[in-house]
């Protein structure tokens, strides 16, 4: 499981990051590295703060401690305008797609171009149609977001995320709640886009099978710590009980089936206080 040494090829490095929400410690001194041109997955059960980590990387949240360097820039030291310039090069795909519901598919994909560039409408049209073609939804350009299925909405959001030709994309739970076909489509798209556009991809997910099929490197998070890291093969072979439980989906193990409670017998036999 050895530590990777940071090198020239690192696009993002998270070092000694701690973050808490109220009294709850979400991350406790974690360090991660994301290599350029690779697909890196962050896995872990729900509630481990995977989405929070993406928000920290995007500068939407401020860590209590530690730093996140993206392409040589410390995200949390940047001024607002510099952060916004950096974000133009960071695509993010939200779990829900986060499409603007008052605009058509076409306008949603055109949105970043219209906001950030002064391109003529004919050029915007070409770019939008190219990106929609890449996700296979050129024919759906006139639909409204409420007319799309969940998988289609995510593909539109993906087209929107790549329309400014970013250097990287962060995927927040891209496979959750998808039928097998849309899941397959998304797996294929993430891999293909990463290769053809030379992107760096970060996938946050708890879908073990799909994610390990395309990831080059995996971090497994739990309880605010990195409990395992390595290539998918190394993770599968991991001797950590915890990682094994997560990868195989066993009901009991280091993560208990039961929510912490007082003794069962005592609880049943006790009288008095109602819940």
């Amino acid at each position: 499981m050895g530590n990777r040494i940071s090198c020239q090829n690192t696009l993002i490095s998270v070092s000694n990051l701690s973050f808490s929400r109220g009294d709850k410690k979400i991350f406790d001194d974690i360090s991660l590295e994301f290599e350029r041109g690779k697909i890196t997955a962050i896995m872990g059960p729900s509630g481990t703060g995977k989405t929070t980590l993406l928000k920290l990387m995007g500068g939407q949240l401020l860590p209590n401690q530690g730093s996140i360097i993206v392409d040589g820039q410390n995200v949390h030291r940047l001024r607002r305008s510099e952060l916004y310039n950096l974000r133009k090069r960071m695509g993010m795909l939200f779990q829900s797609g986060a499409l603007l519901t008052d605009m058509s598919v076409y306008d949603n994909v055109a949105f970043p171009l219209r906001e950030h560039t002064k391109l003529p409408e004919s050029m915007i049209r070409t770019l939008v149609l190219m990106k929609l073609e890449a996700v296979g939804l050129r024919g759906a350009y006139s639909l409204m977001p409420n007319e799309l299925s969940g998988g289609m909405a995510r593909r539109v959001a993906l087209a929107r995320a790549i329309v400014l030709d970013p250097m990287m994309i962060m995927y927040d739970e891209p496979f959750t709640g998808q039928d097998p076909i849309s899941m397959g489509v998304l797996v294929h798209l993430i891999k293909a886009l990463n290769k053809t556009l030379g992107l760096t991809s970060i996938i946050v997910s708890h879908d073990v099978h799909e994610t390990s099929a395309i990831a080059d490197y995996i971090y497994v998070l739990s309880g605010g710590k990195v409990v395992g890291q390595g290539t998918p093969e190394a993770i599968r072979q991991s001797d950590s009980e915890w990682v094994q439980q997560f990868m195989t989906g066993a009901a009991d193990g280091p993560v208990h089936f039961h929510y912490p409670a007082k003794d069962y017998m005592d609880d049943l036999l006790s009288t008095g206080k109602r819940y």
Binding site: Q60, R87, M90, M92, F94
Partner: protein, 260 residues
């Protein structure tokens, strides 16, 4: 007792922190207006949904309020044989008080609640976060145009309310109850002062528009992003707007007409 004190302390603290957040939000929102000006289309779209779509409820309510004023005013004034001053009574009450206040209350119910729900849902569905990640400031792109639209629409709607109300009063007064039409308009023209009455009424509605839009947008932006949170935020918008409108109306009336 201690619990009560602790509860009181907690509530006071959270209200102050909310006030602070609200003020900060307002400042951001005002600063964002600069970037709305070069993009009039954003403003026009919002003027349509905030202002034009409130047109119907404002005009119908204005008509009925004016008609009721005409009816009630006639019964009181005719006791003194002063029914010819009906126009003055209807116009003064509408222009000074009822126009700005009632239209602002309706505006809070119609447009304010819609703004809160819209912004709250955009927050819940991560549209605002998504925009931030696309390097688009949601305050500038979403909030400020809506704020400006509410702020500009309110005086227009209040003026419309008063104008239609005056016509309503005339329909009932001279149409049904036989007040001389010439007297209705002439007395109104003679007694109503442009600065004291009309401009002061417009100032009131500007203030109400400002406060209502601020409350509505802030509540939406500050809402807990769940269905319950948004429903509470929408309720708070209507309740807080109503309180603020009525409270401010008293203060403004005292300042404007206190010397008379």
């Amino acid at each position: 007792m201690i619990e009560l004190l602790a509860h009181l302390g907690k509530n006071t603290r959270s209200s102050f922190s909310k006030l602070g957040r609200g003020t900060f939000f307002l400042l951001q929102c005002l600063a964002g207006i600069i970037s709305v000006l070069p993009r009039p289309r954003l403003l026009l779209n919002q003027m349509y949904s905030v202002g034009v779509l409130s047109f119907l409820i404002i005009s119908i309510s204005g008509l009925f309020v004016g008609m009721v004023l005409g009816l009630q005013g006639f019964y009181i004034l005719s006791d003194f044989g002063a029914e010819t001053t009906l126009g003055v009574m209807v116009a003064t009450s509408l222009v000074r008080e009822l126009g700005p206040v009632v239209s602002a209350l309706l505006f809070a119910g119609r447009a304010g609640s819609a703004l809160t729900a819209e912004i709250g849902l955009m927050k819940a569905t991560e549209q605002l976060s998504g925009m931030e990640m696309m390097a688009v400031d949601p305050i500038k792109r979403i909030i400020s145009p809506r704020f400006l639209a509410g702020f500009l629409s309110m005086p227009l709607l209040a003026t419309l309310f008063s104008a239609i109300g005056i016509i309503g009063g005339q329909i009932v007064g001279s149409g049904l109850l036989g007040v001389d039409e010439g007297a209705y308009w002439a007395q109104m023209q003679a007694k109503l002062d442009f600065y004291d009455d009309i401009i002061n009424g417009v100032i009131k509605s500007v203030v109400f528009g400002f406060v209502t839009s601020w409350i509505a947008l802030f509540e939406g932006h500050d809402a807990v992003p769940t269905s319950e949170g948004i429903s509470r935020a929408t309720t708070r918008t209507v309740v807080n707007s109503a309180f603020s409108i009525l409270g401010l109306d008293f203060i403004l009336t005292a300042l404007m007409f206190g010397d008379d």
